[in-house]
Amino acid sequence: MPETIDVLNAITLLANFVLLPALSYGSQLALGALGVTLIFGILRFANFAHGDTMAFGTMIAILITWWFQSLGLSLGPLPTALLALPFAILATAIVVIIFDKTVFSFYRRQKSPPVMLAIASVGVMFMMNAIVRFIIGPDDQRFADGEKFIIKAREFKTMTGLNEGLAIKSTTVLTVVITLIVVTALFWFLQRSRTGKAMRAFSDNEDLALLSGINPERIVLVTWIIAAALATIAGVLYGLDKSFKPFTYFQMLLPIFAAAIVGGIGQPIGAVVGGYVIAFSELSITYAYKKFLKYLLPEGSEPEGLAQLLSTDYKFAVSFIILVVVLLVRPTGIFRGRVL
């Protein structure tokens, strides 16, 4: 039987390298997947431009943050980027609405099949991508400020007397709290508000919704605004927590779509659950458990190797495998039934 202290050490180790990082990464994926699922549920196409919409929103937030920083504005221990967030959401919403008016509305009027809209969104993705690179460049940008840690690994060790440290980053807590608020607000909006109900009705049966006097233009507009807000919040939180580089947002498209599909595309609750499923799988499968097992197993029986299922190089492959398995075994995703 391992001693209590060893169990605590093992739990701390896992929390530091798997649980906490997966919690914040999962929240960021959940917010991204919510945007994808919303567009799919209401506008009925897979929006491949979502990753680069995130990059665009984050870029605007960074530029405004830099401006605020030069003016000396700050939120004290919180990152200045939170102050810039509303303006970034506004700018991103305007841009996606311009893209909707110039590109997507044409295909809607033509009553094109969803696959044509999806292909058109790939075009929009490349344009967004180019705009971001043109304005801010392809390199890393740093915009995080404020307190970086709530508890540092070394402080935790001296505080608890354990061998293992636990670093709690303020961006992790911020990500989880903001995700909680945003998700709650979105669910309330969809279930209770008049516009939310209209959106669900529109998603359920477009013709019936039109007959009952719902204005489709308004529904589309509100959907894009919400999607832009979700994308910008997800992007800024990801950038604060990790770092901003336009290309990495394009790469996030795969885990985001995997999250949306695993949860059941078109299901907001599914997107949230899917986000955490993907994040926890990616991190727990690529983590090396050697040290963890060393704490728990009796002396002498710990593994020689690293006890790592997959090399970290294959992180993206994990979401891809989950995606394929879900599509083969349960194509509806975890939550099935009516969308939205």
Binding site: F17, S243, T248, L283, A288, K290, K291, Q308
Partner: protein
């Protein structure tokens, strides 16, 4: 009218053909990547090499008063076909007697194998560091004034041993440079009795390296060796390690040593250490002074190596008293190593005089040139440690 034009054109053509045929001028090719990923370094490297040629030429003692000039070619650093074509042009059209170059390991290998060795032209590279170049079939025509990365791995292993570090985890950038260095380091460290707990590659350009760091720290090694790039994944690895408290002290190779590391990483790097090619010898100081006086940048990367490469070619011609391509190759080793009078930057006139009188020289130059059996610099490295927020030189290896 048409006839007049044709006449002028043919006259120009004749004049153009006649121009290069000035009798007493010796041409040396300078093949560097003037375009491409290291285009910011090459102008200074070329200027340093031309400085050595000019010094010899102006002394009036080079082969009884001949002059030397240079012909530049663009190696592009990455495109082997373009580099090969440029080298062909230097050898056949410009009629160079030897080549100072090329720069990056890949194009250097291509030029040596496809152009220089088949044509019997001596090449001295100032900056190709791949261990693979030690074993190419060069028939004695390829030299380099830069050390092989195999040597850096050895030096790092020695430093770790001297500091009583017996177990490390290694992460390297996933390319030829990173892999070669990680392999040579692991071999040297294990031969010295150390243990490499884990070796893992990392990809550059990712936003988040916490998963990589998690795996590396699970290996149980107390220290992490990072063989990557300072403005790329290497920095990400270090940031993620400090954030999660996985590692506190790091071991760097040359790609990680730069002030931007200290500027851009949040957290305490004090006590981390690494290696960088170079020395603080008298020769290096003399070269910096000489280059700065001539308006070039004397302390830039690989400028000393470029000066030395060109100087070695000049001295090899003087030693054989011939600009014959084969004779140059045969005399490079003799002037580079002992015995003989030690020669430092700015003393080429003295060396030319000694050689003309039948004496011997041991060229030290800016980088303490000492060639191994296969004609490459044994190489000296600075051991640097971060102290008080900057890299400080601790020792020369």
């Amino acid at each position: 009218m048409k006839k007049t034009l044709t006449g002028i054109a043919s006259a120009l053509l004749l004049a153009g053909m006649a121009a290069p045929a000035i009798a007493d001028d010796v041409k040396v090719g300078i093949l560097l990547g003037f375009t491409g990923p290291i285009e910011s370094l090459t102008p200074d490297m070329a200027a340093a090499a031309e400085l050595a040629l000019k010094e010899a030429s102006d002394s009036g003692k080079f082969m009884g008063g001949k002059t030397i000039s240079s012909a530049r070619g663009d190696s592009t650093c990455t495109d082997s076909a373009a580099a090969t074509a440029a080298a062909e042009r230097l050898i056949s059209a410009e009629n160079v007697v030897a080549i100072m170059g090329a720069d990056c390991s890949g194009v250097t290998t291509a030029v040596a194998n496809n152009v220089a060795v088949p044509n019997g032209v001596t090449m001295v590279s100032p900056s190709a560091t791949s261990p693979a170049l030690s074993t190419i079939e060069d028939n004695g025509f390829f030299f380099r004034t830069s050390p092989s990365d195999a040597r850096q791995g050895q030096v790092l292993a020695d430093i770790l041993k001297a500091r009583d570090i017996s177990e490390v985890a290694v992460t390297y950038t996933n390319n030829d440079y990173g892999k070669g260095l990680a392999d040579s380091f692991a071999a040297a460290f294990e031969a010295a009795g150390g243990k490499v707990a884990m070796t893992a590659a990392h990809e550059d350009g990712k936003a988040d390296y916490s998963a990589e760091v998690g795996a590396l720290s699970a290996s149980g090694a107390p220290e992490l060796a990072v063989f990557g790039y300072v403005d790329q994944g290497g920095r990400g690895i270090i940031q993620a390690s400090l954030d999660s408290g996985a590692f506190e002290r790091f071991i760097f190779a040359d790609g990680m040593v730069g002030d931007s590391l200290i500027e851009n990483v949040d957290g305490d790097l004090a006590g981390s250490f690494g290696t960088l090619p170079g020395s603080d010898s008298d020769g290096a100081a003399k070269f910096t002074e000489l280059a700065n006086a001539a308006g070039a940048k004397g302390d830039g990367p690989f400028t000393g190596e470029a000066y030395d490469a060109a100087a070695l070619l000049v001295l090899a011609m003087q030693a054989g008293n011939s600009t014959d391509r084969k004779s140059i190759a045969e005399n490079v080793m003799a002037v580079a190593n002992a015995p003989g009078e030690k020669i430092y930057p700015g003393e080429l006139a003295k060396a030319l005089e000694i050689l003309a009188g039948g004496g011997e020289v041991d060229y030290e130059g800016a980088t303490n040139v000492l060639f191994s059996d296969v004609g490459e610099a044994a190489g000296s490295y600075k051991e640097l440690e971060i102290k008080g927020g900057k890299f400080e030189t601790m020792k020369i290896h």
